[in-house]
């Protein structure tokens, strides 16, 4: 089947929705059918969020299931582990190695999970220090675009198309930082850090 599924997983407020929107618009601009699905509401108050983008000749369902994602892009370590079952065997896994502790951990009710990086590395994760690269690009809020840059290396769309869609989607005051963030994410992959 010719449908590609990308899941962006993170915590409310991390910008997964904007990243998903950019990706969906790139696919549409490339002439493909595309569907994007997200959940609003309670999840946005610091809960888990995932955005699913699917594109190809003809896309039916807007959601995906266990084993359905070709690419899983995780904005946070615990969410990476939580969504791991979504990843297809052999799929690509990008992880921003940052932890945002959930409330039960913050208040000391549950222990912080240990050894997630090792588990994820064992599943072939590529770690992209998106927060650091975003700061280097000039805006700590552009970590989502760094991660898009990384995953873009395996999606086959022209780099120019990405830059056009980003330009149309982010405020002009942060455009330069976002374009740099995208380039830094791509470079991190190109340097061979992406399998």
């Amino acid at each position: 089947m010719s449908v590609t599924t990308v899941v962006l997983a993170g915590v409310g407020g991390q910008g997964t929705i904007l990243a998903g929107d950019v990706l969906a618009k790139v696919a549409a601009a490339a002439g493909l059918d595309v569907k994007l699905s997200e959940v609003h509401g309670m999840a946005q108050r610091g809960g888990s969020v995932d955005t699913v983008v699917r594109f190809g000749e003809e896309v039916f369902s807007p959601v995906t299931d266990a084993g359905g994602a070709d690419h899983l892009v995780a904005f946070e370590l615990i969410e990476a582990a939580r969504r791991l079952p979504l990843l297809k065997p052999g799929g690509r896994l990008f992880v921003n190695p940052r932890t945002i502790e959930p409330l039960p951990v913050l208040i000391g009710e549950l222990p912080p999970p240990e050894g997630l990086e090792a588990v994820l590395a064992g599943e072939g994760a590529v770690f992209i220090d998106a927060d650091v690269l975003a700061c280097q690009a000039g805006s700590p809020k552009s970590a989502n675009i760094v991660l898009l840059g990384a995953v873009s290396t395996g999606l086959g769309f022209a780099e120019e198309l990405w830059r056009e869609v980003i330009a149309a989607r982010v405020p002009s005051s942060t455009l330069q930082a976002n374009l740099r963030a995208f380039a830094l994410g791509r470079e991190a992959c190109m340097r061979g850090e992406c399998a």
Partner: protein
């Protein structure tokens, strides 16, 4: 025709605009909210938030009567509130087209139940269309306006979370400008006293009969040819799950699911080996088909929750992709009240008072979660006040009874409950949590905020004056960021006999743009007493040493934690660093 990437909600708004609708009215509720917000941005229209769904539908009925096409929006539980006018509006019919967008939430991503609004179509006897994606949402809302006028009926457009909040490619067209149909006095149509209503009741059957005839022959339903042991009858987003899960199976997707186009289904049933139904939230289609004598196969689909392609495939015995096992021991990530949320201080005080707290629908529902765990009930919009009154009637005297209700919810259906409490001289305290916005659904205005959906400033309901007008003498106001004042106001209110109201006014943290300097913890002074931890502010965490720590990036400097710390260990610090915790 232009092609845009639109959510189902944006597509409904666009479709209503293309159909020439001039008025939009609704009450916010996930996943329906963005429909009216998008409609309000369209050129040449008027849109407003009503205080509740019943009022919204009544306003819509009036503007339809006045001759302009009208869109009314709400979520599924809102339709319960609007059911009263709806069940009679099928009898009166409409003036210009009246379309009611109702968004259901199978899986309860942000709702208190999973009800299937299709049952209301059958109950109220109004036609119901079910789009399966954004493109159909646009096409169906246009069709719904035409049907509404053609058959003199309000028409329901039922979407679900996965239609409302999914984006897909949509072809858009220009607006169809429509003349206003001048109002004419017709009491036999619009005055539903028994004599007139009995006549309209018979005419209703006749109108529904014509809708059914149209639905059977209209070609509005989609049939996908195929082979295999079963032919699937489905509707809405489930159609796409079926296409994905069972490629090659014959599928009949119904667009109009009430009245059920039975001849279309029978015709399909005759051409397939066995009919199966795929639907979520309720077995609405399956029951209708079985009642009409159509043999429907038993398929082990889950009755509760959302469907997905994998669940459909598994139920039909198709192969599913093997997947990695879920990791155990991952901490859940429940939603939280934001750092600097004004509700936190109130719940902290209520917990210290060991109050029984009847709650309501909004961000403050999160006050039920640990560590605050200071809310005892949450049932439906407005239930807090009635339940507090009832609880005190039951003679619960050992603990104070307090209702908490947000500003939007108070306007929605708290006022009548408060009137009951006052008139019957109940003994409960009502706390109106006025955070100046309808926060949970994404910052909408309401009659307490002083601004309209069209962005104009307007009157602000004066809650203390209103409460006094309802006959409540004991009314106070308090600043939720002043914790000692909040607690003493609450204690005074519950101790005085009779009904009392406290208006807690503090801006939602998402509105308060200017943040004060963040606070930090002085490790020397911190005794690891964990009192601040129990506030549940996401900026405060417990170190392995047991001492508290504050994430300067998250802290907005509201100073609530400063007031709970007896050891003065929470102190002002410098500005936040940019990078979070990294490996």
């Amino acid at each position: 025709m232009a092609r845009s990437l639109l959510s189902g909600n944006e597509a409904v708004a666009r479709g209503a605009w293309e159909a020439g609708a001039l008025v939009g009215v609704g009450y916010p509720g996930t996943p329906s909210t963005e429909v009216l917000e998008a409609f309000a941005c369209m050129p040449g229209v008027y849109a407003e938030w009503a205080p509740n769904e019943k009022v919204a539908l009544e306003v819509a009925a009036g503007s339809s009567l006045g001759g302009v096409r009208t869109l009314v929006t709400m979520k599924h539980v809102g339709l319960n509130v609007a059911a009263d006018p709806l069940l009679t509006l099928s009898h009166t019919g409409v003036g210009a087209g009246l379309v009611l967008l109702v968004a259901d939430d199978p899986g309860m991503h942000s709702s208190q139940n999973e009800q299937d609004s299709r049952n209301y179509a059958a109950f109220a006897k109004v036609p119901l269309l079910e789009p399966s994606d954004s493109a159909e949402a646009l096409a169906h809302v246009r069709l719904a306006f035409d049907l509404s006028e053609r058959f003199d009926l309000p028409v329901i457009l039922r979407s679900t979370t996965r239609v409302a909040h999914s984006k897909g490619l949509v072809g858009t067209e220009d607006r169809e400008e429509r003349e206003r149909v001048p109002y004419e006095k017709r009491p036999e149509k619009w005055v539903m006293m028994p004599g007139n209503a009995r006549v309209r009741r018979l005419e209703l059957d006749e109108r529904i009969g014509r809708v059914r005839e149209w639905a059977e022959g209209s070609g509005v339903h989609t049939e996908v040819p195929g082979g295999g042991p079963v032919g699937v009858v489905t509707s809405g987003v489930c159609y796409h799950h079926v296409r994905e899960a069972l490629p090659g199976a014959p599928v009949l997707k119904l667009s109009l699911t009430w009245p059920l186009p039975l001849a279309v289904v029978r015709d399909f049933a005759e051409r397939v080996r066995r009919v199966a139904v795929v639907e979520e939230a309720d077995d609405f289609l399956a029951r209708g088909l079985r009642a009409a004598g159509i043999d429907v196969a038993d398929v082990p689909l889950p009755a509760a929750g959302e469907l997905t392609p994998r669940k459909v495939a598994a139920a039909f015995g198709a192969t599913v992709v093997p997947a990695r096992a879920a990791l155990d021991d991952l901490p859940p990530r429940p939603p939280l009240m934001c750092p600097g949320c004004p509700h936190r201080g109130v719940f902290h005080a209520l917990r210290r008072m060991r109050a029984v707290v009847t709650g309501d629908i909004g961000c403050y529902t999160l006050g039920a979660l640990p560590p605050l765990a200071a809310m005892d009930t949450c049932v439906c919009m407005g239930a807090s006040i009635g339940m507090a009154h009832g609880l005190s009637l039951a003679g619960e005297a050992s603990r104070p009874v307090v209702a908490v209700i947000g500003d939007s919810t108070f306007a929605h259906s708290g006022v009548t409950g408060l009137m009951d409490l006052s008139y019957n001289r109940g003994n409960a305290t009502v706390v109106v949590l006025d955070n100046r916005v309808t926060a949970m659904t994404g910052q909408q205005d309401n009659p307490l905020t002083g601004r309209t959906l069209m962005g104009e400033s307007t009157v602000e309901v004066d809650v203390p004056a209103l409460a006094r007008a309802l006959g409540i003498a004991d009314v106070t106001r308090v600043d939720p960021f002043d914790l000692p004042a909040t607690e003493s106001a609450l204690r005074a209110a519950v101790e005085s006999p009779g009904p009392s109201v406290i208006v807690v006014k503090g801006e939602c943290a998402l509105l308060a743009r200017e943040h004060a300097e963040p606070f930090g913890v002085d490790e020397e002074l911190c005794t690891a007493c964990a009192v601040c931890i129990r506030l549940g502010c996401p900026a405060i965490s417990k170190e392995s040493s047991g001492k508290a720590a504050i994430d300067a990036e998250l802290c907005v400097g509201c100073a609530q934690c400063v007031q709970v710390c007896k050891y003065e260990a929470i102190v002002a610090t410098g500005p936040a660093c940019d990078v979070g915790e990294l490996r």
